[in-house]
Symmetry: C2
Subunit: 339 residues, 2 copies
DNA sequence: CTGAAAGCGCTAACAA
DNA sequence: TTGTTAGCGCTTTCAG
């Protein structure tokens, strides 16, 4: 048995034997339990590292009834083309991942295909995850509400002003819509088109902000309701130009991707941006800075929001309650609009 | 005890009691084991659904030593600004998620922050996941190699021509680089700049394809080596124009984001695209179609690649071996280059 | 085709 | 500060 292949996977008991202590001591040490003397803890941790030992998460989860996993569901509206490729949503997922990691939590990426409709059952009863972060409210909150009512720790990225019995973190979309519109008005725009789908919760708020700004200025509103994609925006603006000519001098787009689609339609017809039509987007994705002209946009603080989402989820995991919260928003002024 | 709150989480044994069968029968039925009569299976499955029952994955994983989870690691080069926000990488993750889901596998999203350097230990020994999909080779394959050598089921999205003892799936980058360059040459370009970092494995192949095409045409090469971001591309082209003037009439960009950065620099100086400078990108992200002028690009078939990655991982999980594989590539001709 | 029973590897209550 | 021990809920071998 000399030099036998060290094939077998070490378990806690083996490590304990090696160290000459009990399994509980090793378990506590590796979980950094202060009951164990610091010295012993450090020694055992080092032994574990030396032997390339890792706790079996399956066993640990079974015993402790905790997973340290959070499910993140990207919650698309059915009937939209907005997809997993949407740069903004993915940016949010990336930020959430970072925020979770900082708390020692892992991210199980999911979608409705796997999770079905009964999220409480799929994720929580099954001990796949301890809680859920939903990215996007969708048009129908049924699944979210069902999960929240079942007592699932859950937070949502969306419109914080939506009445709900679960915490929603998101930007101040009303103020964002108002800021963008006021900025366009200040630049001299008189006929500002709202480009997007006001039926969507967050976008609805942006739309109301837009209306509020127009009201104050006694200007008229005009909505081009489209699916929230570049392509739909491109076609929407194209069609508007074909049927009604250049009947507007400003566009408040509900997202940067939508704004960029509109921009393409304008540029193809040699409509000058911002002189003939001024344009403001929403989200401040990387492309806003790199488009030509660069795109003025309302910047959403996704990093701050992600930290808040995780904090509020953690609070619920510890039995506390958490409230919806609005994250500040900011106009980034670039070339597509006039100062 | 009438109508007592059905608070307690059902377990397999409870369900078995309700059905009047043994736990093994229920377990088998829910796992669709053909040992159990189809009729019984269906009956038990329905009972489970009725009672909102879900298997405890922790227990099941502990017992069966299988997780049905795949870890996906986004493997950035250190020293690049290319980030979790890169639309192409995220698109790949999205496609992988879909491909995994179709096989009943779940996606644990990870990064080096959580996983550290010893992936075998962190993911596999700990039973967090059954296998690993690495998105991006990075410049240093040490972590990947260590994991592969430890016998971890593992596949990589990257340059399939890199010699390795693990399967790499990726595009035919050499042909992509050649196609793009040939296309620029055919459009009349004589001085084509390669914009990107040839030190990166995939981009190196694209560069070699570019060189091969230039060689055949007896044209001279010129590299602008930059970090793989829009911003770096913008500054790189700007600087080239400042120091050497318009000394080129074509750009082969190593990615669409890079191409869009270059496009901005050109447009700001009123350099006509494609007349003064023709431009081809790589990846065919959504923005390529929506930029103005729209961006010719080499389309990577990420969907096909993702399916292959999952297939090859599955093969390894079943003890079979798998080889690297090249996925076909295609030029998408748009306005930024001449026919 | 179904049941009985053992045990996966860990944590935590209780004991010392 | 550490050890002993029971048991988390499932799957699977073996027996029928």
């Amino acid at each position: 048995m000399y030099l036998a292949m060290n094939n077998k996977q070490l378990k806690l008991a083996d490590l304990a034997k090696l160290a000459g202590v009990s399994t509980s001591t090793v378990s506590r040490a590796l979980n950094d339990n202060p009951l164990i003397k610091k010295e012993t803890r450090d020694k055992l941790k080092q032994l574990a590292k030396q032997h390339n030992f890792s706790l079996n998460t399956a066993a640990s989860r079974l015993r402790s009834q905790k997973t340290n996993v959070v499910a993140v569901i990207i919650n698309f509206d059915s009937g939209t083309e907005q997809s997993i490729n949407d740069p903004f949503l993915l940016k949010v997922v990336g930020e959430i991942n970072l925020a979770l990691n900082k708390q020692g939590l892992e991210l199980l990426l999911s979608n409705s295909f796997m999770a079905g409709d009964d999220w409480a059952n799929y994720f929580i009863n099954s001990r796949r995850a301890d809680g859920i972060i939903v990215v996007g409210q969708g048009k129908d909150p049924a699944n979210i509400e069902a999960a929240a009512n079942a007592g699932v720790p859950l937070v949502v990225w969306g419109d914080p002003k939506t009445p709900s019995n679960y915490p929603i973190v998101g930007s101040d979309n009303f103020v964002g819509g108002r800021l963008a519109t006021e900025h366009l008005l200040a630049g001299g725009a008189k006929n500002i088109v709202f480009l997007g789908d006001p039926g969507h919760a967050e976008i609805g708020e942006r739309y109301r902000g837009y209306l509020a700004a127009l009201n104050t200025a006694n200007a008229r509103s005009q909505v081009v309701s489209i699916d929230i994609t570049s392509r739909a925006a491109y076609h929407g603006i194209n069609q508007l130009l074909v049927t009604q000519g250049l009947c507007f001098d400003g566009i408040m787009a509900c997202s940067d991707m939508v704004a960029l689609g509109a921009m393409k339609a304008l540029k193809e017809r040699y409509i000058s941006i911002p002189n003939d039509v001024a344009l403001v987007g929403f989200d401040d994705i990387a492309m806003a800075d790199i488009s030509h002209p660069s795109l003025s946009s309302i910047k959403q603080n996704t990093q701050r929001a992600s930290v808040l989402l995780v904090e509020k989820l953690l609070a619920q995991l510890q039995g506390q309650s958490a409230e919806s919260q609005v994250v500040e928003i900011e106009l980034i002024y670039r070339q597509s609009s006039k100062g």
